[in-house]
């Protein structure tokens, strides 16, 4: 192959600078989408090159937060892929119902769309009062937004349709108030949600969950990091616990695949073997 393009070298130097100076390790992110996000940051902040962006983040600590926010990917919607939530409700919740106490971990919660979706479904299944949901992300700005539970009003229609398609038993409007151009989710939904910073790249086993929801996060990771994170999920889950991944994500390439059984392959719901 020919020598690398200057911009690809700049991406590697940017990653190295973030790691050395700030302790954030993006080295195991798939490069194509990461590069695109870095290029977007360069243009949205008016820099000429990725090198200029690197120089800024080395010397200006206040710039780190907006940078990290731009590098993480908080794009979701409530009840995204409704059939997945329906599968959770119909195939997983009945099995969870036998436990006196439930821990649910949503890893990579972005702005909280799916956390609140889960809370609503658990409420309707009569399980929420004995459930503790841990919603984690490495992006503090996203966590702050998730904690507020405020979403644009223009999304409400899609969310409502998704909710009904997911088998919701009432109307989504029962769970929010519309104000100005936003909807604010009912405070009561937050009563059993703990928002916490957890970085899948660096942090360890977490909270002995009965169910882990981690959708459209692994697609950003290289094989190495996917394997690490899936290992972390296996080691965190209780025996017989459930793992729900994104619709295009798979365990096929991972060493932990042998420890899981697909409950619903289409919805990407897997169950950890009773003995691991």
């Amino acid at each position: 192959m020919s020598r690398p393009e200057a911009e690809d070298v700049e991406v590697e130097l940017f990653i190295r600078a973030l790691q050395l100076r700030h302790g954030y390790d993006f080295s195991q992110y798939t490069r194509a989408s990461f590069k695109r996000r870095v290029q977007n940051l360069v243009s949205s902040h008016g820099f000429a090159t990725i090198g200029d962006l690197t120089a800024r983040v080395l010397r200006d600590d206040a710039f780190l937060a907006p940078l990290v926010a731009g590098l993480s990917v908080p794009v979701s919607e409530m009840f995204r892929n409704p059939s997945v939530f329906q599968a959770l409700r119909q195939e997983v919740f009945p099995l969870l119902a036998s436990y006196p106490h439930l821990n649910v971990w949503q890893a990579g919660c972005a702005f909280g769309e799916e956390v609140y979706s889960l809370a609503i479904l658990l409420e309707e299944a009569g399980l929420y009062d004995r459930t503790q949901i841990y919603a984690t992300d490495f992006n503090d700005a996203a966590l702050g937004r998730a904690q507020e539970g405020i979403f644009p009003l223009r999304e409400a229609r899609t969310y409502s349709e998704n909710y009904l398609a997911a088998g919701g038993s009432g109307s989504l409007a029962d769970y929010y108030h519309a104000r100005y151009e936003h909807i604010k989710l009912d405070e009561r939904l937050k009563r059993n949600i703990t928002f916490a910073n957890h970085n899948l790249v660096a942090d360890g086993v977490f909270c002995e969950p009965h169910l882990i929801l981690c959708r459209n996060v692994l697609i950003y990771f290289t094989d190495t990091l996917q394997n690490r994170v899936l290992g972390l999920f296996r080691d965190s889950l209780i025996r017989g616990g459930f793992l729900c991944l994104g619709n295009k994500e798979t365990l096929d390439f991972a060493p932990v695949a042998k420890d899981f059984t697909a409950i619903n392959q289409r919805a990407r719901i897997f169950r950890l073997a009773a003995r691991g």
């Binding site: 192959m1 798939t30 989408s33 695109r36 990917v73 697609i219 994104g246 295009k248 798979t250």
Partner: protein
């Protein structure tokens, strides 16, 4: 590192794209050696349906482009809906749910740019019928890296906006009606 693919074709289309894809894929010769990648905004939510529909009009194998799978020569890879599709340096696909580009996801621009980065002059990119500007900046990137650009003649396209935008922003090596695109690709791959 996998053996480098010698040639890759990326096809982008939107409104009217299904018919365009049938014509182009149907016209590729049976031993077409390149890996083919398709981004079509008209694909239904159900990519499997689009895959089987295109398979029935193609002599080449048609599969969904799935994350971390290698691009295969002589195979058509179709982008799933709801995700941007990228090619990585190791010639495998990756996906993202990053924000829409040109109001669409998958965006043709996203695929074209990442494929141009990896394949340079070994890439041919085709912009066909469509009603928005997606693909124009991507085609510009393809040409900047030495790739080969084919644009459907806007006068021949069911929706002219997309090929017209591509020509305005990027220009092309070949401008031709839909019925001649497959022949141009067959010749490029000869």
């Amino acid at each position: 590192m996998n053996a480098a693919l010698s040639q890759v074709v990326a096809l982008g289309c939107s409104a009217g794209g299904l018919q365009a894809l049938r014509v182009v894929l149907g016209g590729l010769r049976p031993d077409f050696p390149a890996a083919v990648i398709v981004v079509s905004h008209t694909g239904s939510e159900d990519v499997e349906m689009l895959v089987s529909l295109l398979a029935s009009h193609s002599k080449l194998k048609v599969v969904e482009a799935t994350e971390r799978r290698l691009l295969l020569s002589g195979t058509v890879h179709v982008a799933p809906s709801g995700y941007h599709l990228y090619v990585e340096r190791d010639q495998r696909f990756s996906l993202s749910v990053d924000p829409k580009v040109c109001f669409v996801r998958p965006a043709i621009d996203v695929l074209f740019k990442s494929a141009a980065d990896v394949f340079g002059a070994r890439l041919a990119a085709v912009v066909m019928t469509g009603a928005n500007d997606d693909g124009a900046l991507g085609l510009q990137a393809v040409r900047a890296k030495g790739g080969y650009a084919i644009v459907q003649d806007p006068l021949d396209a069911q929706a002219a906006v997309m090929p017209a935008a591509a020509l305005r922003v990027a220009g092309a090596d070949v401008i031709c009606p839909l019925g001649e695109i497959a022949a141009a690709l067959n010749a490029w791959c000869a």
